[in-house]
Structures are given as C-alpha cells and as structure tokens.
Amino acid sequence: MKIAIASGKGGTGKTTLAVNLAALGEGAIVYADCDVEEPNGHLFLNPKITVSEEVGIPVPVVDPALCTACERCVEACRFNALACVADQVLVFSALCHGCGGCIAICPEGAMKEYPHPIGKVEKGARGELYFIQGTMKVGAAMSPPLIRAVKATVPPSDLEIYDAPPGTSCPVITTLKEMDYVVLVTEPTPFGLNDLRIAVETVREMGLPFGVVVNRSDVGDGRIRDYCRAEEIALLMELPEDRRIAETYSRGELIVEALPEYKQAFADLLDKICCSVKREEGVPGS
C-alpha cells in the first residue's frame, strides 16, 4: 500500500506524520523521503545509510563532426535548452529535462546522451524499517527526475510511506502519481486553508483518494473542519498544539516513542487509511 503524506502549505507537519506512521506500522515498511530539496526524515529516523547512488539526467552532447546545423533539435526542444548559432548547437544543461527528444529527432545521429548529475539516492535502514531518501545537488534545477529515481528504488512492501515536498507543482505531482492514498496535512489558519484548497483540487484532478489531518488543531479556528464538512472530505486526525510534541520534534525524536499516549491516535489514523484504501479497491472505478 502506497501512502503519500502531502500538504499545500509547507511546515504543517508532513514529516512529523510520515516518520511516526512509518515507525508505527508492522511488516515490511518503507519510508521514502521525496522532499529532495530538503529531506529531513532522517533526522527523526536516524537510519544507517548503506548505499549512496548518484542520479543524473541524460543531457545531449553534440558531435560537431556529424552535426549539419539543421536546427531540428532546437525546434524540437520544448524546454528552450538548445540554440544553434554560427552552425554550432549550444546545449544549456540546466534547462534540459532529459526527455531525449533532440537525440531522437537528429537525422545525423550527432547527439549522444551524457549523464548530468542532479543528486543522489541513499538507502539504509532503521531496524526493520527500510529507509530511502533523495537529496538534490546544490544548483540543480529540476527535482522530478530525482523523485522518480527515489520512487523506483522502493521495493514492493506492505506499507510504503512517501514524504512529499510541499506545494502542488511538478515535484508533488511526481510524488503523488500511483499512490493508493494521499494524506493532506494542514493547520487551522487562513494560509493552511488556502493551500489546502489548492492541494484538494490537485488530488481530485489526479483522481486519488485522500483525507485531511489537522496539525496544531486547537490554534486558529474551525475553518478547516467547516471546509472538510462542506466538501465531504474525511477528517482523519486532529493533532493538538502540545509543547511536548514541539520539544520531541526539536530533539529529533519520534512522538510515538517519546509520548506513548499519542501512539493510539497514529495507529487509528493508519487503520482509517487502510480501511479507506480497501474500500476503494473493493469498488471498481470509484
């Protein structure tokens, strides 16, 4: 079962939720940190990293001996990463999405693929829990290829928890694709609701089953509850504003270990998600 923990707004508690769910589950469990621009799940799970692999995207290099400056590649590049001046093709690797279109269209076979490093995927474990994270290279511009590499590394497991990046743009879409369920974490503030609405539009457009978790539920007001009721969205869990949770977080500890009284709430959340996924599977086309 693949569950993504996402949010519109950043800093609402995605990682807090993701690492605690991952630490709680039973069987073969994977925690995958897809927030590759600033992965931080490792701070709480303290995994032993055993494998580190560089990830690159294939960018073109031009063989000047074969290139006839026909400019077909320049016309084909929808990312504006190529130019042809003075019968010479210039490649701007930072803009390249690695789609391979230019290489496919070149009639002379003058373009070859060359890996341009964008980051690394690290694998390890915390006891029984399998840990994977992606970390982008400083200066790299595009995270989706690295997120895809993280996801491709995840072995089929009983429970796969994907810690998504914030927002609703390409990195989030890349993470959410093929998920069985999406948990949207928010907070009861105007910013929290505004960004939740956008996130809800996104997951609805993608046709993914989802529910909402309200973090620091007793700050702010009841706007998230009202919104979820009006939109008929499952409100899965409300985590109160508790100084001890903040302290646990600041020490890099897990709530389910440091504050056992919250363990049941996380277990209930996991149950609700599992039930919801099974319901979805039981009703074809829903």
Binding site: V74, N80, A83, V85, A86, L95, A141
Partner: protein
C-alpha cells in the same frame, strides 16, 4: 550592418525595452538602407524557461551584429557571443536616441552578462 533594439512599441520613437529575453519584439535597423523591420518575440515572452536563449537565437537569425538592450543574462549572452553579436547597454531612451548614442559611441558595451541567470 544590422542593429537590434529591444522594443515594446513599433516605431523608432518608442522606448527601448529594458528586458531582453521577454521583450515584446525586436526592432532591427539596417544601417545601409536606413530601414527597419520588426521581429516578434511573443513565443519567448510566454516561455516557461529559456526565453533569453531563444530571444538571442532570434537576434542572431535576424542577422544583427549589434544588440542594444537594458540587461542581458549569462545564457543569452553566450548565445549572442557565439553568434558574433556585440551587446550594448541602453536604458531610459527612445530607440532613435539609442541609435544616435550608438553612432556617437556613447553606449557602454557589455563584455559579460550584467544580471544573474534564472534557474541556476
């Protein structure tokens, strides 16, 4: 020789546009015939990325050997340089004034990008 100016308007009296990659269009002035043509940049104006590179490609393809604009980033500059286009800085003036200033050699030539690139 042809000189390209970034422009928001369609005449010599219109103001020189300070933006390069996302300028509305280029006014390409031919010193030999004293006539000009307009090269639209609408496609790059709306591009998600790489507007400067493709704008530079348009300027090179138009046959200009000089570009007068407000600012130029590193990727656009490298395309212009490869295409043998010299870049001069102009701001707060009409295209006619910029042309005159270029003739008087009072415009400053850029030998490198004068603003940071996007994305990297």
């Amino acid at each position: 020789m042809k000189i390209a100016f970034t422009s928001s308007g369609k005449t010599l009296e219109d103001a020189l546009c300070p933006r390069f990659g996302r300028a509305d269009r280029f006014l390409v002035y031919d010193l030999e015939t004293s006539e000009f043509s307009l090269v639209e940049n609408a496609q790059n104006l709306n591009a998600a990325q790489g507007a400067g590179i493709q704008a530079a490609q348009l300027v090179v393809n138009a046959g200009a050997k000089v570009l007068v604009t407000g600012h130029c980033g590193p990727k656009a500059f490298s395309v212009l340089k490869a295409g043998g286009v010299r870049v001069f800085h102009g701001e707060n003036m009409s295209i006619a004034d910029a042309l005159e200033a270029w003739r008087n050699q009072s415009l400053v030539e850029l030998h490198a990008a004068d603003v940071d690139g996007h994305w990297v």
